[in-house]
Every structure is written in structure tokens, then in C-alpha cells.
Amino acid sequence: MKIIQRLSEMQVGQTATIQAFHVDTAFKYRLNGLGLRVGKKLEVIRHAPFDGPYQLRIGSTELMLRKRDAHMIEVLM
């Protein structure tokens, strides 16, 4: 079953497809540049201690994203 949820609700080890961005234009450019685009698959690799950022893998790139910002990205599980 496929469900739409926020990236911030994903568990470590899960993969999902990006559905939509609810971020400002400037940040969207930055995310696009890092390889985050609608329709792309991403994987949550790790979650930093003390509720820190997520480590994500998308294509050939690994990056970190804060939980607050991850909440602004819709994904399809």
C-alpha cells in the first residue's frame, strides 16, 4: 500500500519517492542542486543524536537535512 507522508516521519532504512516541496524558492533551488527533485527516490540512512539532522541518500549523493526542513517535504512510501 502506498501512503503519502512527510519525510520527517520516515524511519531509518526506509526509501520513498519525493512528491512535493513546501519550501521557499531559494531553498528549493538548493535542494534541486543537491539532487532532490520531485519523482526522485531517497533513502534515510541515519538520524543524528539529540534529534539532529537526517542523513539521506539520493542517487549518487548523500546529504543531511534538519528535521524541521524534512517536515516540509512530502514523500510517497
Partner: protein, 595 residues
């Protein structure tokens, strides 16, 4: 002269390529329309000189960060004959997006797929022929780091320069509508020309990350790692410094003193006790700085810094900062100036200013020299490295204190995403390049600030004519006495006061000034100072040196980067106040406890 601009995303290996191409002969220069300095170099291509400019790494030509604006303004105000588009070959699936943007601007370009070695190792195969045909740009594989593929690249650059038409200085058209089409184009291009293995990512990096980013051990490991590095710098650099000091001392006693003995006493004293002693003392610490930067180059190139950002981001966010601020603080351990410039990737002014306010507390390599000198003179060999490390800890203490106090004034909601590149080993060449670069920086600072500084200190300690050097009746003694109501509560005597005043210009002058003031050099200077002050005074002096107003270059950088007189004033006054409070507090408490 024809002009080539280097454009690429962060982490595409652009600087490595630029360093290779320029052979280290790069110069900073001003450009029309751009407020920051850019590196450029001249290159002999096709029988003529060509100018090559290194533009900051950017993700998107439309982006809103200062770096992205610099690139836009550069292209709007300067004619470009050719763009060297640097792309990390193992991330070609996303980095080509910038290339497509350049193509939409009809920019004459050559595409260099850098880090070809890494891409090959992870099983990525790229059909450069196909990309060349589809984009209409010569596309070549190359390894900037290991020096492979350069001759082919130069051939392609020369051939393109011969035929291409320059893009005149003109503002960039901001056509947002093409974005969607571009995404499809990118996907198709990658699908047709790149073969990715099923599982991307280095297993080596994954293995290291599972330890380095461990939820429990990650942070302790990071601090342990830092301690080991600083310990190593001390252990390796210490004997080198002693060796250099001995060499200078021998040269002075065997050659300089007999050679200059015929000169009048005052001139003799000025040349030996002023210029030579001052400069030689500072120069003897250069090996420590080089050793430090060799380690620093290793850490910077390894990819570990962004892991530090990952581990620390949560803590930093509580202080109104983020992971990038932490990386810049670590970079500041080398030199505060490039660290301050590194904040250009931040968009929010609040975040950027707050980061710029705390960076100058980073114990830079110039201050390291002062502390190595002081700790060696005043503490036992067992205690000295621990005392030194305590000062690194103090950096973090004052950073936290300052950030917490000021975060209300510098508010930021800036989102934060940062790449975690695979771990890499720097080459010897890169490390040697860095070491040489530091020697060059020292020579530049020595000819500018340090010589003038030690000469002025000599004049102050030896004038008026005939006075006992550095005595209460000399000019330096008078200034020291005048300042004493302020600085004696911190245990800082008139001699140290003069050193602190000149340390405002550059921290290296502090040890040079002490050599001139005490009229001693090398090991004699250390013994001489140990006779004059005790460890409580020395530590208080070091605290003051760590915290107070950074050097003139730092202040100048803060002014140009922040473009605010008000902010520059705050970053002058606050550290000075804090330095006095901390030093005096420490000194009084230690004395009260009977030390």
C-alpha cells in the same frame, strides 16, 4: 586577453583543478560588479596568454546565497570567452543541471568531468562522446587530483577558444519556466549517456560512517580525534621550533654579532635586538604552523568536517547557529579570515552575522604560536599540551556564551542542507601545496605587519635615547604604567601590555614583541619570561590573547563581509570586554585560592 571562468558545484574539485592549472601562482583581484575578491591566474594557451578566474562553487545560477550572486554579477559585468564547467563525475546525475543552465545562456563551454578515478572505482561509466553530441560542448574525463587527462583537456580548451564566440557582459535572463523542461532534459541525458551500478555509494565510506557517526561514540570520537591532532602538532612541531630557534641563535652569535660589531651601539641594538630577534623568534614558529596546516589539509580534504557538522548541528541549532557554523569554527583554527569568507553560503543575515561574531574566537594558528611559546616557557612538558588543549576548550566556551547572549539579536529560520561527500585521502602534492602556501602567507605577513610591528616595539622600548631598554622611563614603560590600572587586575604586567597592544595588528607580533622587550631570543627568552611571571599570570595573558580583538586582517574581513560599521564595532568591543572579564576573573580567583 581572453578570459576563462571556472564554474562548478561545491565538492566538484574546482579548487584542486584551479591550483593545478595555475601552478599556485594565483592572485586575488577585484572584478567589476563583484564586491568580493576572486582568485585568478594567467596561463599560456595556444601561444597566447589567457586569464583564468575561479568563481565560487554554486548549486544553481538562480540561487540566492552571496556566492550565487557573485557568479551572477560576474557574468553580468565581465566578458567571458569560455566557461570551464567542472562536474564531479560520480555525481553527474545531478551536477549536470548547472551545465544545462549554462547551455540555456548560450555560454561557450568545455565540460570537465572531474574525479574520473572515483567514478570509475564506484563502477560508473560515462559516454563522453554522447554528452558532447547532445549538449554541443566538448566533454572530457579528468582527475584534477591525480593529474590525469590534462593534455586532452588543454587541447579541447584551445580548440574551443579558437572557434567559440565570447559571451559579452550581460545580465542573466531569469527564465524560470524552462526549469521543468530542464529536469526532463537532465534525466534523458543521464539515462542515455551514463551507466550507474545498481548500488551506488562507497562501502568504505559506509563503514567509516557507521563508526564516525555512531549515535553514542560519534561525538566523543570527534573530540578525541581533535585532541590527538593537537597533541601531534605539539609533539612534532615543538622540536622543529627548538631546532629553528637554535639555528637562528647560532647564526646571530657566529655571524651577525661579529659582522655588525663595528656599528654604533644604537644601530647595532636596533638591527640585532630589534629587527633580527623579533623576526627570528616569530619565524622559528613557522614550522609548527606548517605541521598544523598539514594536518588541517588532511582533515579538510578527508570529508570529515561535514560529519562534524552532522554530529554538532543539533547542539548548534540551540545556539542559533547550524552545522556550517561549526565547520567554519573548525576552519578558523587555521585562519579566521577564510573562515569568515566561508559564511557566504549562508543566506540568512542573522545566522551569518552570528557565525561571524563567534568565528574570531577560534584559536587560529597565529595564536597557537603564542600559546606554544607561553606553555613551553611556563609549564612542564607533561602539562603543556593539556594547558594548550584547555585553551581550545575555552574557544568553545566563549563561543557558546557569545552565541547564547546574542542569538536573540541575530534571528534566523534558515533551512539547512549540506552534502556529506565520500571520505577521501589527500595526495602528498595537495598537502605540500598547502604547506608551501602557509610559508608564502608568513613571508607576506612578515614583510608587511611583523617587521613594522617589531621595529615599533623596539623604538618604544629603547626611546627616549639613552634609557634603560623597557624600563619604567622608556616609552613602552610609560604606556604600560598608564594601562596598568586596567590590566594589572588581570595580572598582565607593563611588558605583556605592550605585546598585547601590538598583537592587535597580528598575533605573531606578540612573541616577536616579547623577544624585543626582554632583549632575549630562543631558549634564553623562555627562561627570561619564566623568571618574570608565574603560571597564573601566563594563563591569564593567554586567555586575554585568545579572546580579545582578533588581528587587523580579521577586522577588515568582518567589515567587508558584513558591510556594517555597527557590526564591526560590536565584534571589536564585545571580545575586548569579554577578554578582560575572563582574564581578570581567572586571575583574581586563582590568587584568591592561593595559587
Amino acid at each position: 586577453m581572453k578570459r576563462i571562468a571556472l564554474i562548478g558545484m561545491p565538492n566538484a574539485g574546482k579548487s584542486t583543478l584551479f591550483n593545478r592549472m595555475s601552478g599556485g601562482s594565483a592572485k586575488v583581484a577585484n572584478w567589476p560588479g563583484v564586491t568580493v575578491d576572486l582568485l585568478s591566474s594567467k596561463l599560456l594557451l595556444d601561444g597566447g596568454m589567457v586569464e583564468i578566474v575561479d568563481l565560487p562553487g554554486i548549486y544553481d545560477l538562480h540561487g540566492f546565497s552571496d556566492d550565487e550572486q557573485v557568479v551572477r554579477h560576474f557574468l553580468a559585468n565581465n566578458t567571458v570567452d569560455l566557461v570551464l564547467m567542472v562536474v564531479n563525475a560520480s555525481q553527474i546525475d545531478r551536477q549536470l543541471s548547472l551545465t544545462l543552465q549554462l547551455k540555456s545562456l548560450n555560454m561557450p563551454a568545455v565540460i570537465l568531468l572531474n574525479m574520473a578515478d572515483e567514478a570509475k572505482k564506484s563502477g560508473i561509466s560515462i559516454d563522453t562522446e554522447k554528452i558532447s553530441v547532445e549538449l554541443g560542448y566538448s566533454t572530457l574525463l579528468l582527475s584534477a587530483k591525480y593529474g590525469q587527462g590534462y593534455s586532452e583537456a588543454y587541447n579541447a580548451i584551445e580548440a574551443t577558444l579558437r572557434t567559440s564566440k565570447a559571451r559579452p557582459a550581460r545580465a542573466l535572463e531569469q527564465d524560470f519556466a524552462v526549469d521543468k523542461a530542464m529536469e526532463t532534459e537532465l534525466d534523458n541525458l543521464v539515462k542515455h549517456s551514463v551507466d550507474f551500478p545498481a548500488q551506488i555509494g562507497s562501502t568504505m565510506t559506509e563503514k567509516i560512517d557507521s563508526v564516525a557517526l555512531h549515535p553514542v561514540f560519534g561525538l566523543p570520537l570527534f573530540f578525541g580525534f581533535m585532541f590527538v591532532i593537537f597533541q601531534a602538532v605539539y609533539t612534532i612541531g615543538g622540536p622543529l621550533q627548538e631546532g629553528m630557534a637554535w639555528l637562528f641563535e647560532t647564526f646571530r652569535d657566529l655571524a651577525l654579532v661579529p659582522l655588525l660589531s663595528g656599528l654604533p651601539a644604537l644601530l647595532n641594538g636596533f638591527l640585532i635586538g630589534g629587527v633580527f630577534d623579533g623576526l627570528a623568534t616569530v619565524a622559528s614558529f613557522v614550522p609548527i604552523v606548517i605541521v598544523f596546516f598539514l594536518f588541517m589539509a588532511f582533515v579538510e580534504d578527508s570529508g570529515y568536517l561535514s560529519r562534524a557538522a552532522f554530529l554538532m548541528d543539533s547542539l548548534m541549532s540551540r545556539m542559533g547557529l547550524d552545522g556550517r557554523s561549526f565547520v567554519m569554527l573548525l576552519m578558523g583554527f587555521g585562519c579566521n579570515v577564510p573562515a569568515l569568507m566561508g559564511t557566504r553560503t549562508m543566506r540568512s543575515r542573522g545566522l551569518r552575522l552570528l557565525t561571524m561574531l563567534v568565528i574570531p574566537f577560534s584559536l587560529c594558528s597565529a595564536r597557537l604560536q603564542v600559546f606554544v611559546f607561553m606553555t613551553t616557557a611556563l609549564f612542564s612538558p607533561q602539562h603543556a599540551p593539556i594547558v594548550l588543549f584547555s585553551l581550545y576548550i575555552m574557544t568553545f566556551v566563549v563561543v557558546i556564551l557569545t552565541a547564547l547572549l546574542f542569538k536573540g539579536h541575530f534571528n534566523s529560520q534558515e533551512p539547512f542542507a549540506l552534502e556529506l561527500p565520500p571520505y577521501r585521502l589527500p595526495t602528498y602534492r595537495q598537502m605540500l601545496f598547502r604547506g608551501w602556501h602557509e610559508v608564502a602567507v608568513f613571508i607576506k605577513r612578515a614583510t608587511k605587519f611583523i617587521t613594522i610591528g617589531v621595529v615599533m616595539v623596539w623604538v618604544l622600548t629603547n626611546m627616549p635615547y639613552g634609557v634603560e631598554p623597557a624600563s619604567a622611563s622608556s616609552w613602552s614603560g610609560i604606556i604600560g604604567e598608564f594601562m596598568s590600572p586596567v590590566l594589572s587586575p588581570a595580572g598582565i604586567n607593563p611588558e605583556l601590555t605592550i605585546a598585547l597592544i601590538f598583537g592587535f595588528v597580528a598575533k605573531e607580533i606578540v612573541i616577536g614583541a616579547l623577544a624585543v622587550i626582554y632583549g632575549l631570543e630562543g631558549s634564553a627568552l623562555m627562561t627570561g619570561i619564566a623568571d618574570q611571571i608565574d603560571w597564573v599570570q601566563a594563563y591569564s595573558f593567554m586567555l586575554f590573547t585568545l579572546i580579545y580583538t582578533p588581528c587587523l586582517s580579521t577586522i577588515a574581513t568582518i567589515r567587508t563581509e558584513a558591510k556594517s560599521g555597527w557590526f564591526t564595532t560590536v565584534s571589536l568591543v564585545w571580545p575586548l570586554t569579554l577578554a578582560w572579564v575572563v582574564s581578570a576573573g581567572f586571575y583574581q580567583a586563582a590568587r584568591f585560592l592561593g595559587y
